[in-house]
C-alpha cells in the first residue's frame, strides 16, 4: 500500500510490537506527529517536559520490560537533548531506538534552522546510527535499527530522518520481524576447561552484572550457583538478577560493596563472572582484582574479554545458553567451609551508623521503611550519588527488572524520567524514586509529566542540602575544601510538588518516617516526600579509587 514516510514509521513500530513511545514534538517531526495522531488508537505517545526526560523514560521502559524503548524528538536542540539519555542507555547496554527529525534534504548541510549532525554527535554513544535520505530505505532501516538494538549486547540506535522523507510517499510492504537467534560461540572444550577449573575450586565466587538481567538468565544463574554452592556478588547493574534473600547472596561488589564481598574477591580461588565488565568501580585495582583467582568470564560481547582484567577462560554467547551449558558441565559441590568463612566476614561490617537525631532522618532507616511498604514487584528507581549507593546497599531486590539506575554513565537527573517510563510500562505497579536534592534539581520538570498521566510514583528526596557524594570525596581527598558542593538552596520540595499538582510531604526525622511513608503508600496518587537527612552522612564502607579491600574506609570523622 502507498503510505507516507511518517505512516511507514508508525507501521514499522507496530511490526516490532511497539505500543508506547516517548517524545516531544517539533518542526521537523510535524509529519511524524500527524501520523501518531492518526495511529493514536494503537500507539500511545507519552509527552515529556524535556526531551532528556523522554529518553530516560524510554530507558526505564526498556529496563523494566525487556522490550526496546522508543523515543522521538525533533531536529537540532530536540536531538541534542536526547544525547545524555542515549549515552546513559549505551553505557548500561539498554535497548532503545531514538528517532529524530532533521531538516529536509535540500536544507541539509547549510546550517539551516534547527539543523544539527546528530549522527556525528551520537556516533560514540550508539551501537549504530542511520540517516535516511530516501523514503524507500525507511522501512528497512527501522527494522534493522530494532534488530541491532535488541541483538547481541543490547544498546541504543538512532535514526535521523529529514522532514521531506517523512512526507514522501512510497509503497509499504508489511514484514514480520524474524526472531533474533543467538549462537553459542564457545566450543565444548572451552566449557570443559572452565568446568574443570570450577570443579577443582575450593573457594569459588560468582560476580554477576547487568548482563544476567539483560539476557533474562536469572534462573540459569541461580541453578549454577546452587549446583556448585557458590556465593554470589553483584554489580550495581546486576541487582535483582539474584534474589537478595538467598543464602548464597553476599551483596554488591566494588567501591561501596560490603566488606564480605571485598574479602571474598581477594581470597577466592575461582571467580565466575557473568554479564559484567570489571569497571573501575568494581575492580578498583585491575592488577590485584581476584589476585588469587582463576577468572572465568561469560559474556555475549567478545570485546569485554581481557578489556580491563586478564581472563583465564572465556565463554561467549547468550548467557542463558552459556550458563546452562556450564551448569550441565560442572560437578555438584559443597563449599561449607568457604561459605561459613564468607558469612563470618559479613558479620564484620565495620561501619558504625550515625546516631539518630531530632533534625534528621537516617537514610538507611528510610530505605528499610520503604522496603517494608513495597512488594517484590514494585519498581525502585534512583538518581545518582550517595542516595543511589545507600539504596544499592540496603534495598532487598528479589526479582529482576524492578530496578533502574544509571550504573555506567552515572547520570544525575536520570531518575524521574526513568520512573515515568517504568510507571507507564507497568500499570498497577508502584514505582519509588529515591533521589537526592542535587539530582532532583536537574530534571524535576518531569513532575509535570507525572501529574499529566497520574503515575503512581512516590518520590523520596533524601535531602541533605549538599552535593553529598562529591562532598564526601572532598572530605577524604581534598582536605575538606568544599568547593561548590554546598549550594545554599532553600527549595521546599513539598511546596514545589504542590505547584505541579503533586502531593508534597515531609519527613523531618526517623520517628516521623513510618507514618508519613504509610500515608504516601496508602493511595496511588503521585507524591513527593522531602526527607531531611544530615549533610554529614557518608556512604560507607568505601574502597578508595584504584585500591582493594585492604584499604577499605569504614569510618569518617
Amino acid at each position: 500500500m502507498q503510505l507516507n514516510g511518517s505512516e511507514i514509521i508508525a507501521e514499522c513500530l507496530l511490526e516490532q510490537g511497539v505500543d508506547t513511545v516517548f517524545g516531544y514534538p517539533g518542526g521537523a517531526v510535524l509529519n511524524i506527529y500527524d501520523a501518531l495522531y492518526k495511529y493514536s488508537d494503537r500507539i500511545t505517545h507519552i509527552l515529556s517536559a524535556h526531551e532528556q526526560g523522554a529518553a530516560h523514560a524510554a530507558d526505564g521502559y526498556a529496563r523494566t520490560t525487556g522490550k526496546c524503548g522508543v523515543v522521538i524528538a525533533t531536529s537540532g536542540p530536540g536531538a541534542t537533548n536526547l544525547v545524555t539519555g542515549i549515552a546513559t542507555a549505551y553505557m548500561d547496554s539498554i535497548p532503545m531506538v531514538a528517532i529524530t527529525g532533521n531538516v529536509s534534504n535540500d536544507l541539509l548541510a547549510r546550517d539551516s534552522f534547527q539543523e544539527v549532525d546528530i549522527c556525528g554527535i551520537t556516533m560514540p554513544v550508539t551501537k549504530h546510527n542511520f540517516i535516511v535520505k530516501d523514503v524507500k530505505d525507511l522501512a528497512n532501516v527501522i527494522r534493522k535499527a530494532f534488530r541491532i538494538a535488541m541483538s547481541g549486547r543490547k544498546g541504543p540506535v538512532l535514526i535521523d530522518i529529514p522532514k521531506d522523507v517523512t512526507g514522501a510517499v512510497c509503497e509499504y510492504i508489511p514484514e514480520t520481524p524474524k526472531a533474533i537467534c543467538s549462537e553459542l560461540l564457545s566450543a565444548q572444550e572451552d566449557f570443559e576447561a572452565a568446568a574443570k577449573a570450577i570443579n577443582e575450586a575450593k573457594r569459588p565466587m560468582i560476580y554477576m552484572g547487568g548482563g544476567v538481567v539483560s539476557a533474562d538468565a536469572e534462573s540459569q544463574l541461580l541453578a549454577l550457583a546452587e549446583k556448585i554452592d557458590c556465593p554470589v556478588a553483584t554489580s550495581i547493574m546486576g541487582l535483582g538478577g539474584f534474589p537478595s534473600s538467598h543464602r548464597l547472596f553476599i551483596g554488591t561488589i566494588g567501591m561501596h560493596g560490603g566488606y564480605e564481598t571485598g574479602k571474598a574477591t581477594d581470597n577466592c580461588d575461582v571467580i565466575i563472572t557473568a554479564g559484567a565488565r570489571f569497571s573501575d568501580r568494581v575492580a578498583g585495582d585491575r592488577e590485584k582484582f581476584g589476585k588469587e583467582a582463576t577468572i572465568i568470564q561469560l559474556d555475549i560481547d567478545k570485546a569485554e574479554i581481557n578489556k580491563n582484567v586478564k581472563i583465564n577462560y572465556s565463554l561467549l554467547g547468550d548467557l542463558k545458553d552459556t550458563l546452562s551449558k556450564l551448569t550441565e558441565t560442572v560437578s555438584p559441590a559443597k563449599h561449607d567451609e568457604w561459605t561459613t568463612q564468607v558469612a563470618e566476614w559479613a558479620k564484620h561490617s565495620g561501619v558504625t551508623e550515625t546516631p539518630s537525631s531530632e533534625n534528621y532522618a537516617h537514610p538507611y532507616h528510610i530505605i528499610e521503611a520503604v522496603n517494608k511498604l513495597t512488594n517484590d514487584d514494585d519498581i525502585i528507581v534512583t538518581d545518582v550519588g550517595q542516595h543511589q549507593m545507600w539504596v544499592s546497599q540496603k534495598y532487598r531486590f528479589e526479582k529482576p527488572r524492578k530496578w533502574c539506575t544509571s550504573g555506567g554513565l552515572g547520570t544525575m537527573g536520570y531518575g524521574l524520567g526513568a520512573a515515568v517510563g517504568s510507571a507507564v510500562a507497568n500499570p498497577g505497579k508502584r514505582v519509588v524514586l529515591f533521589t537526592g536534592d542535587g539530582s532532583f534539581h536537574m530534571n524535576l520538570n518531569e513532575l509535570a509529566t507525572v501529574r499529566s498521566y497520574d503515575l503512581p510514583i512516590v518520590v523520596v528526596v533524601l535531602n541533605n542540602t549538599v552535593l553529598g557524594m562529591v562532598r564526601q570525596w572532598q572530605k577524604l581527598f581534598y582536605g575538606r575544601r568544599f568547593s561548590q558542593t554546598d549550594p545554599h538552596r532553600k527549595t521546599d520540595f513539598a511546596a514545589l510538588a504542590e505547584a505541579f499538582g503533586v502531593k508534597g510531604m515531609r519527613i523531618n526525622n526517623d520517628s516521623d518516617a513510618e507514618e508519613v511513608l504509610k500515608e504516601a503508600f496508602a493511595s496511588t496518587e503521585p507524591v513527593v516526600i522531602d526527607c531531611r537527612i544530615s549533610p554529614d552522612e557518608n556512604v560507607l564502607p568505601m574502597i578508595p579509587p584504584g585500591k582493594t579491600v585492604d584499604d577499605m574506609i569504614t569510618e569518617m570523622e
Binding site: M123, P124, K127, H128, I148, A303
Partner: protein
C-alpha cells in the same frame, strides 16, 4: 610484547564508515601509524589497512572493538610471515651539484627512481615493505629531506586466502 601489527578490515562502503573506524582510535586510545582505504574489489565493500602499535592484548582488543562496528564485516591481523605488505613513497631530498651523484647512488640501491629534478632538490619514488621504506628514509636523512609523502600500507595474505574467504 610491544610491536607493530598490520590489520586488514573489510567494511561496508557506507557513508560515515571511515569516521566510525577512526573515531574508535581516539575513543579506545589505539595508537595508529598508517591507515589506507581503497575499494576492496567486491561490490559494496572497501578495504582498510591499518598499522597499529601495541602489545598482543591491545591488538586483540582492537580487532574485537572493530568487529562491533556494524559496518565492519571482517577484521584480521595480517602477520608479516604470511602476508605481503608494501607501500610507496615520494621523497624530496635537498641536493646540490656536489652530492647529486652520491644521492642517486644511495637511492638506486633501494630501486628508487628519480621522478623530478629541481634547482636544489631531487624527488624520488620508491616502493617496498614498510621497513625498506624506513631504511631508505634514514639513508637519505643526512642530505636533508625537504618533504615526503607515503601512501600507507597495502597488504594481502599470501597464497589463496583472502579476507572475504
Amino acid at each position: 610484547m610491544e610491536n607493530k601489527q598490520i590489520i586488514g578490515l573489510l567494511v561496508h562502503n557506507h557513508p560515515g564508515v571511515l569516521l566510525r573506524v577512526t573515531s574508535l582510535f581516539t575513543r579506545r586510545g589505539f595508537n595508529i601509524d598508517s591507515l589506507t582505504v581503497s575499494p576492496a574489489g567486491i561490490d559494496g565493500y572497501s578495504r582498510m589497512t591499518i598499522r597499529i602499535h601495541g602489545d598482543d592484548s591491545q591488538v586483540e582488543q582492537f580487532i574485537n572493538q572493530m568487529l562491533k562496528i556494524v559496518d565492519v564485516k571482517k577484521a584480521e591481523v595480517l602477520p608479516e610471515s604470511t602476508s605481503v605488505a608494501m607501500e610507496l613513497i615520494l621523497i624530496k631530498v635537498s641536493s646540490d651539484s656536489d652530492n647529486k651523484n652520491d644521492i642517486i647512488a644511495v637511492t638506486s640501491a633501494y630501486h628508487a627512481s628519480l621522478v623530478n629534478i629541481g634547482e636544489h632538490s631531487l624527488t624520488f619514488r620508491a616502493s617496498g615493505t614498510p621497513s625498506q621504506i624506513d631504511t631508505l628514509i634514514s639513508q637519505l636523512s643526512s642530505y636533508g629531506i625537504l618533504e615526503m609523502a607515503r601512501t600507507g600500507i597495502a597488504a594481502l595474505q599470501n597464497g589463496d586466502s583472502t579476507l572475504a574467504h
